[in-house]
Structures are given as structure tokens and as C-alpha cells.
Symmetry: C2
Amino acid sequence: MIKTPYLLFLGDAPDQLAAKVAIGIKDWRPENAVGQFRMDGCKADLGLTDMSLVEAREAGAKTLVIGVANRGGVISKEWKKVLVMALEEGFDLASGLHNLLREEPDLVAVAEATGRELHDVRIPEVEYPIANGKTRTGKRVLAVGTDCSVGKMYTALCMDAEMRKRGMKSSFRATGQTGILITGDGVPLDAVIADFMAGSVEYLTPDNDADHWDHIEGQGSLFHVSYSGVTMALIHGGQPDALVLAHEPTRTHMRGLPEYDLPSLQALRDMALPLAKVANPGCQVIGVSVNTQNMGEDEAKAYLAQVEADMGLPATDPFRFGAAKLVDALAAV
Amino acid sequence: MIKTPYLLFLGDAPDQLAAKVAIGIKDWRPENAVGQFRMDGCKADLGLTDMSLVEAREAGAKTLVIGVANRGGVISKEWKKVLVMALEEGFDLASGLHNLLREEPDLVAVAEATGRELHDVRIPEVEYPIANGKTRTGKRVLAVGTDCSVGKMYTALCMDAEMRKRGMKSSFRATGQTGILITGDGVPLDAVIADFMAGSVEYLTPDNDADHWDHIEGQGSLFHVSYSGVTMALIHGGQPDALVLAHEPTRTHMRGLPEYDLPSLQALRDMALPLAKVANPGCQVIGVSVNTQNMGEDEAKAYLAQVEADMGLPATDPFRFGAAKLVDALAAV
């Protein structure tokens, strides 16, 4: 569990895109984002107050989150200076970088000396159990995609936000590094040992109030041969009551697999639902989430209408047009 | 890669069953089993020549394989004496124990000093790639089970042995610790990091002659919620040309999951085949392997006949009645 709220470290980001993680935190958990820390030459700007370490600490920030990709996969000397000072000022550090904080001996030494914590969210910090398959109380929804990176995380975050707006009991359950940094907690599922994948998802989504919804962040795709095992573990470990089908209509082949076509939404439904019913016989497919970012507004709306007609399910782009239709369908489960 | 042939260490095994791994090696790769090493009080006997370390070395043995479960999960002082002497005599050590050889500082020190290798087959020794899904040459067959522990490894070993007997090109590809010790090579799939599971199976079953068959050792079950992700990675990483359905008819519930019923063979076929076709559109279900160890001979034969009629597929218990029917079906693929 990463202590919130955060000071978002943007470093010397070459452009706005490099600060994707920080943008996610600011968009989805603005209450966690006390301010931003920018170094000389930083080209990203979240529109948050620029703060020094001392100012951020006085404003209540507990953790400095590296919200930016590093160049060349190394933590530069310039970054290191700020990170060491942050530890000395009393901040924990959190990072989703491939270059782990814990592999930097100076950071480890200063963290030990100052009693601060280093969180590398790419690496599990918990010994997860083997899944036991026991039925849990509360409700769970999982987005499954025709491909990787079609908007499953955003779908879950949008549904969670809509439920909170309506006063419903709702949690976003992160299974990837960006999601973990956004919420401060979760399971880095792609880094979990095979035998414990489903157990880690059970651990992430425990018993809850009967009217509480867990929005489990999806990963991979049953049709993506590189990562389908991770998707399978989410379906069985998550024992979802509801599935949302996620799709990006302009994709011409599976991500990173030029020889593989995307499946249809019908094929996805027919593959995922019987598998989900193994763990939860009452599971239903409740709607379709389409990532329309590469379509004009009219084109997107026409496409969604066609999907609704073809599938007999509510369809929306929850980030563009809101998640109300999906939450209406979940509320009816 | 573990150096063969082996001296099989039976230690102070309390009974024959404790030497399960050694029995597997002797049954399936007798050419790898130069002799057995038994300590005082050993109640297991493989019928191999009892050898001292010096005798075994002179007979050509390269690795001392711990073919027996240890008591209480610890490597005892008595065992340790033998293991250290074996390193000093020039043997590598190989083990599938939970208590890792590499976690014993004295074994590590002696292995370093003598230049010998310690193989803990529960732990991956390779950095596997992410799966790329590219079509590979050669043929592959995978057994998928209605449950865990229904005989998938024995099915693969039996088909491999039958093919070798016929002079066909054939390899058993181990994905579990017993299989790895039997053959000296393989992937400990349940210990691989989630993102690399399918890639490790691609690595294990590379391009081969067009008429060569890989018999990939199956793991878990698509219907076993604890381990289904591992099964999924085998189906997509292995891109099998043929599936064999594996079943144990007297099982009353899924192993370790008392609330879960076993699926029918039809349900297994209908779940596994569409998933397999994602990676290999030509994949076929070619037969059924039934573990009849808990049935009388007449009962077993009647059951197999019924399965053949119901499924329209050849069915056998390959360990009891031979794998000829399955290999005939594979040869026709």
C-alpha cells in the first residue's frame, strides 16, 4: 500500500506523453495529486501547482511518485539527486519503471537510513496464495478485450467513477502498474508467478458488501497468444458476476502479432462467457465498451448504434460518452 | 540442461511411494539410470544396482538426482553428508525439492569450490522471451485435462515411447519438475513469471523437422480455477496441431476444489478446441486418454468403448493398454 497523497515527479519529461502515469493519477484520483515537481527542461505540465519538496511536504504529500518514463531505461544522476533529497525530506518513493528503485544501492541506503519505503510497482510485494475458488460476497465486473490495450483500464475507471457519482459502493482494483500508482494499491499481475496468478486476483477482490462492486482492471486478451494466460487467471480468480466486452474498431491486427486478426465481439463473448461461468455460473455479459479515439464523433456514434443492434447489448465509449449505460446494466445484475 | 546419466539418490525413503520421481526416471528413461544410492534404513528399491559414489562415477554417472521426497521439507544432516561427498566426487546435483539446493550455503560453497552445478528444477534457469505467436515447423500435441493430475504427463510419455518404438521422430517436452528430471531438460512452467509463460512454451518447442512430434506435458485444466492460466499458456504457446482429452472417471470433484464438479469430455473439447485454433487454426482433437487405475479391467474396457461411441474418437488408457490408438491418430494428422 502506497501512502497518499502524492507529489507527482515529472522530471525532465521531453513531452506531455512521457508523463502518462502522472496524467492518469491526476485525471482519476485528483485528490491524490497535491502538486507537481518539474526539473529544468521539463516539457510536461499537468496544470497542478509546481512545488518544492518542502512545500509539498507541508501540503501533506507522503510519497513522491515517478509519473514519467525515464530515458534510456536508466535513472539519471539529475533524477537521483531529487530522489535522494525526497527521501531525506521524509517522502516514500513509488515507481513503475523497469529500472527498479531497489536496484539502486544509494537509494536503498538512504531509504534505510531515513526509514522511508521504496515501492517498485512492477514487482509483487505480497506472497499471494493459490486460488481456492470459493464464492465471495459482493459483486465484481471485469472487462475482457478483443485485444490488449483496447481500453480495459479506462473502462473500469469510468464505471467506478460513475458508480461513485451515483453514491454506489464501488472500488477500482488495479492489476497493472499505472492502475496501482493511480490508486496506491493492487496486484502487478504480469509479474506474478504462474501458480499464484488466480490467487492474487482473489486476494485483490475479497469478500465485500453484497451491493459493493469491484471493477477489476483487465489484462491481455483470450485471443492474444502472448498474454492469454494472464487474462484466464483474471476470469477465474476474479469470478466476475459481469463481463464487459472491450474493443478498438480500427485495429488491423492483434497488438505486436501482425499475423493475427482480431476476433469479432461475438467470438469474444462466446469464448469468455463459458470460461467465466466455470468460476461463477451466474456471470453475464452486460455491455460493450468501444475505444473510439480514432473515430470522428458521428462515426463513433453510428458504430456504437450498430454494435448495440448486432449484439443486443448496451454499447458506449465510456471515456468519451460516459459509462452510464454500463452502470445501468450493472445495477440491474 | 542436466547432465545425464544419473545416479538416483533414494536416501532414507520411508517407502516406495516416496521415491516417485526416481521411479519415473527409471520407468521412462532407463538409459539415464546408472544405479541407485540408498542410505541406511531406505525402504525403497528400484531394482537397480546399488552403487557407491565412486562406483557410479566409474560407471559414467554425471549427476546425482534426488529422486525422493524429503521429510519435513528440510535437507537432513545425513542427506547433506552424501550430497557434499557427491559434489567432491565430481557429480552435479539435481533436485525438485521445495527446499532448494541453492538455499543451502554449504552446498553452494562446495559446488563453487569444485566447479559443480546445482539444479533446482522448480526454478527457471532461463530468461524466457515474450511469446511471438509465429508459426513453427514440426508437429506438436498437448493433452488437456478435465482436471489436474489426471494423467497428462503419462499420456505424453506413453505417446512419445510408442512413436520412438515405431521409429518416428518424437520428443517429450517437460513442463513440470518430475518431467524435467526424467528428461534432464524442460520448463518449470508453474514457476514462470506470468508475462513469459507462453514464451517459455514456445522456447521449449522450437522449429523442428516437418515429421517430428513434440509431446508437450500438460498442466492444470481450463476448468481448474487455480491453474487455468497455466493451461491457457500451454495451449497458446504450444500452438498444438493435436489435442488429446485426458480424464479420470472416478474423480468426484475438481482436485482441491470440493465445490467444483468435473466437466464432461464434450465440454472440455468445446472449450479447448476454439482456444487452440486461435494459435493454430488447423488444430484437431484426436483422441481421449482415460486414467483407469481405479477401475477393474472389464470396467475400464467398457468405459473406453462407451467414450469412443459418445465422442467419436479413439480412447485408451495409454499406460495400461498402450498408446497405439493415439499414435495412429497422430500419424494421420
